[in-house]
Symmetry: C2
Subunit: 251 residues, 2 copies
């Protein structure tokens, strides 16, 4: 927290020590910390004021729409943080890049567990078409980042569907993970999600030429000791008896 | 529509021709038809009354909670229909059974498109924790049916997560399909979803013994001309250059 630059403003009391933008950011940050760990209905404007060391009227001055406006501002701040999770250097194997992104994403889910569940499980009074649009924007931004890593400028319908539905796998798995009190170590959940990405990419490649090119290019950068090598070695014994399925005439 | 059994009641006018249960079912059916094709906010109680050939007071007599109660009753009726989609004879290859289930599911989505999107995309005023619970119950019932077909009485966390996240793939893909004006033929979407099921099952089998048993047992019943054979033949050329990944020492 930095102090305001105008000495006169500073003398006018504690509330004046922060610039308008700083105070706003501080209130949003206090709200987000509360909304992260409690359902929206269990957070009051007084809670936010207390957590921010501010008065209720001050909170209303910045957020005349009250709790709903504060909730949406906190959600927007969380959305930006989530979108940044999927920004990653474009070097190294695809699974390594996605592994870093998933680590950041799961750390976010871990530290915003209750709010994340309340928002995505639906039925909260704080949910509106605006909050739905914010969540959708995060999904879209994540999909765009993943497609960038796949070096695809114009994704066709199959590849887009694959990426968007994998994101729904990540979301659903995160909710199950929280629901089951995070019993699975986050690193194991991450590895399982990476396996699903590789599996869905490969299965979609079987019937879509663009996805096949993406999969072949991605495989070139993978290393035998990496996630794809481990997955391939794990899959082999399961498929051992299924070689007969490769010959369509073998009936 | 059958007429009431008591002749005296029948003479008292059109509203009396149906039994209480029949009239209730008729109102729910009229409501469901409207909620299927319009967002909840675009359906009024008068619309439902008109569609059912009933008066507004009669609708209120059956549904004193008004539109919200009627919406939830329609949703419950749709939920039962959806749950039945996944009930299938336990004979034949797993992909064949799931193919039948998906055909019924996609036909339902097709005929309830607007309501399906409004409900699952969130932000509708008609959404409450009760409607959320009804949707979750459908997901749970679908997962239970799929696990029955996998002959698993006590699914472990990995297998359960795989089945539940595949259901989220089905949901997300359905919403994308509707959002893109059903450009993809339903049969192609179904086949793609089956491919994802096989891929996710196989990838999960790589690191989970129970899932590996389910996958091996399921593969025994598959036929070379079936979905798994087609998928396997499509995947082979994509993976052709990746054989080097199988040897962890080959770097």
């Amino acid at each position: 927290m930095t102090t305001g630059s105008a000495p006169a403003a500073a003398r006018r009391g504690a509330y004046r020590r922060l610039s308008v933008e700083e105070r706003r950011a501080q209130l949003i940050s206090a709200a987000l910390a509360l909304f992260a760990r409690r359902a929206p209905e269990d957070v009051s404007l007084d809670d936010v004021a207390a957590a921010a060391g501010a008065s209720r009227p001050l909170v209303y001055r910045y957020f005349p729409g009250g709790k709903q406006q504060l909730y949406e501002a906190a959600l927007r701040s969380a959305a930006h943080e989530l979108e940044r999770c999927f920004v990653e250097e474009r070097t190294g194997p695809l699974t390594q890049r996605m592994s870093h992104a998933l680590d950041r994403y799961l750390a976010f889910v871990d530290s915003h567990d209750t709010g994340f569940s309340a928002l995505l499980q639906g039925g909260s009074v704080a949910e509106t078409s605006r909050t739905g649009a914010i969540v959708d924007e995060v999904r879209r931004a994540a999909a765009d980042q993943i497609l960038l890593h796949m070096q695809v400028a114009e994704p066709g319908p199959r590849l887009r569907m694959m990426v968007r539905t994998w994101i729904s796998v990540v979301e659903a798995a995160s909710l199950i993970w929280l629901d089951e009190q995070k019993q699975l170590p986050a690193a194991e959940l991450r590895d399982w999600l990476l396996d699903q990405l590789v599996a869905m990419l490969t299965a979609t490649a079987a019937s879509d030429e663009q996805t096949a090119r993406v999969a072949r290019t991605a495989l070139l950068l993978e290393e035998p000791g990496g996630p794809v090598g481990t997955l391939a070695r794990g899959v082999m014994p399961v498929l051992a008896d299924a070689a007969r399925l490769l010959d369509p005439e073998s009936e």
